[in-house]
Amino acid sequence: MSLILTTKNIFKNFEAIKAADNINVDIESNSTVGLIGSNGAGKTTFLNIITGYITPDSGEVYFEGRRITGTTPRQITHLGIYRSFQIPQIFDSMTAEQNLTISASIAIGHQANKQHLRASERSLITLVKNSMDQFQLGEYRTQLAGNLPEGVRKLLDIAMSLVMKPKLLLLDEPTSGLSADEKFNIMDMVMTAVRSKKIAVLFVEHDMEIIKKYTDRTLAFYNGQILADGTTNEVLAKKEVREHVLGNV
């Protein structure tokens, strides 16, 4: 398998706090990787560095072999890295359908994205309809996004980043704030979509049930460092991880 994302010696300090302290990660294309760690371990900072929202103090990020450090979130989106947010970032005054339409129209509007689509998928209406069907958003079609229940808002947020076919999808706590039955339902839909489109996924998650069920590989962060990196079962069994991340020695 080829590498899709590589980070080399990433350092980032916020005043005295080390948010990234020599982070070296390789992510293979078409893989599903979990990212765990206690609060303040640097998980979201890591996503923000990959997407160009934060520039690291030193170190480099490579995407498909190309150096992308210092590139803006918009340009990084054009390369094929999309993300969802811990707190859904959607357009509250628009309906669910309009949210997806806006996402699709921006995506289609960019030439680089067009080549990934089959001719039949190039129409806005088709893209939006496919997305609605895939994430079972049909019943919320005409409802304002601002009035939707939290689970649907999270799903819509993810659906918006999956309207196109990204190469790498970053999910920031996709199941936080969701009920137990909701979270598996949502993750099943998301992972089905991701696998059918052969997208590499890196997701930050606090819920170990979700990590165990959906990832093959897990990274554990602690104080800005990688505490463990390996198959999910290995990582979760490690003493340091149990001590610093899971809190059950």
Partner: protein
């Protein structure tokens, strides 16, 4: 539901054109001012959809008027089309340059910075003797498409017709733009700029583009006003003039491209009559109107029409 806006706009324009034949002079004046203000507010609602309120659109209103008005005294040309073209070109150029700065600001900072620029122009013009200082100067049109104005039987009616035409074209194009994918991004930006960037669109460029469009519309409004009224002065760039545009924007609401014209007409009607019947308290009447609209129709007068329209269609 089929979009009938184009039909309504065109119908209203034709209706007004016929009405112009029989309307008394004061009504033609009222309609002209409403059309000019409406065109300016058309640009304001585009900015409102982006989440921006400009408290300085008097800048472009004034620039457009002066661009049209100074052609004759300084370059000896007062062909109406050239006057309009000069207004469009100058306002677009100034907005393009100022846009690089303004697109970085939001909310009150955007509003105040726009106001500052308009007051700079006000200061420059009122101190400029060659341009008539605070008195301004009269504007004359010599030809329309090369035909001398004196050749027309009723030159004032022709100019009224051109004002309608200008407003009609602006309105049609704006409706088309707002319905396009790019136009719809304005509201997405107002809701969540961060997400728009993360979806891959350039927020700064879109705001800059929309800012230039709104400036050009204000310029067209200013030029049409100069041509129709025949007099311009620096007051056009004073902050109270910009305030009137904001007033109409809130009064009208940003729900439709027809709203600005309706808002401008109601504003001008209230102002004219209030001024006529209570010369000392006319501002108070405008204030009360605004209060009533904000309390009962927070989305502007247009929301009332939209509701009625919906009821009828059901």
């Amino acid at each position: 539901m089929k979009d009938q806006t184009y039909t309504y706009i065109t119908g209203a324009a034709i209706f007004l054109l016929f009405l112009g034949q029989v309307m008394p002079k004061w009504a033609v004046f009222l309609a002209t001012v409403s059309l000019c203000y409406g065109t300016i507010v058309l640009g304001m609602i585009l900015l409102v959809r982006n989440g921006l309120v400009s408290f300085g659109h008097g800048l472009y209103y004034c620039l457009g008027a002066y661009a049209a008005g100074t052609l004759r005294p300084f370059w000896g040309n007062s062909e109406l089309l050239v006057m309009l073209a000069a207004a469009i070109f100058l306002t677009a150029a100034v907005a393009f340059i100022l846009g690089f700065l303004l697109r970085k600001y939001r909310d009150i900072f955007f509003a105040m910075l726009s106001l500052a620029f308009s007051m700079i122009l006000y200061g420059l013009l009122s101190k400029n003797a060659a341009l008539g200082s605070t008195d301004g100067f009269n504007v004359y049109v010599d030809t329309i498409l090369g035909v001398p104005l004196t050749d027309f039987e009723d030159p004032r009616y022709v100019i009224f017709g051109i004002t309608i035409l200008g407003a009609w074209i602006s309105c049609m194009l704006m409706h088309r733009y707002l319905k396009s994918d790019k136009g719809k991004l304005a509201e997405a930006i107002r809701d969540n700029e961060l997400r728009v960037e993360y979806l891959g669109a350039n927020v700064s460029t879109i705001i800059h583009f929309n800012y230039v469009i709104s400036a050009v519309l204000a310029g067209i409004g200013g030029a049409l006003m100069a041509i129709s009224i025949g007099h311009i002065d620096p007051e056009m760039s004073y902050w109270t003039t910009s305030g009137e545009f904001v007033f109409i924007t809130i009064l009208a609401g940003s729900g439709s491209v027809i709203a600005p014209f309706l808002g401008a007409f109601i504003f001008e009607t209230i102002r004219s009559f209030a001024y006529e019947y209570s010369p000392n308290t006319w501002q108070m009447l405008l204030g009360i109107t605004m209060l009533v609209v904000i309390v009962f129709l927070p989305n502007g007068l247009w929301s009332l029409f939209a509701k009625i329209h919906k009821k009828i269609n059901q």
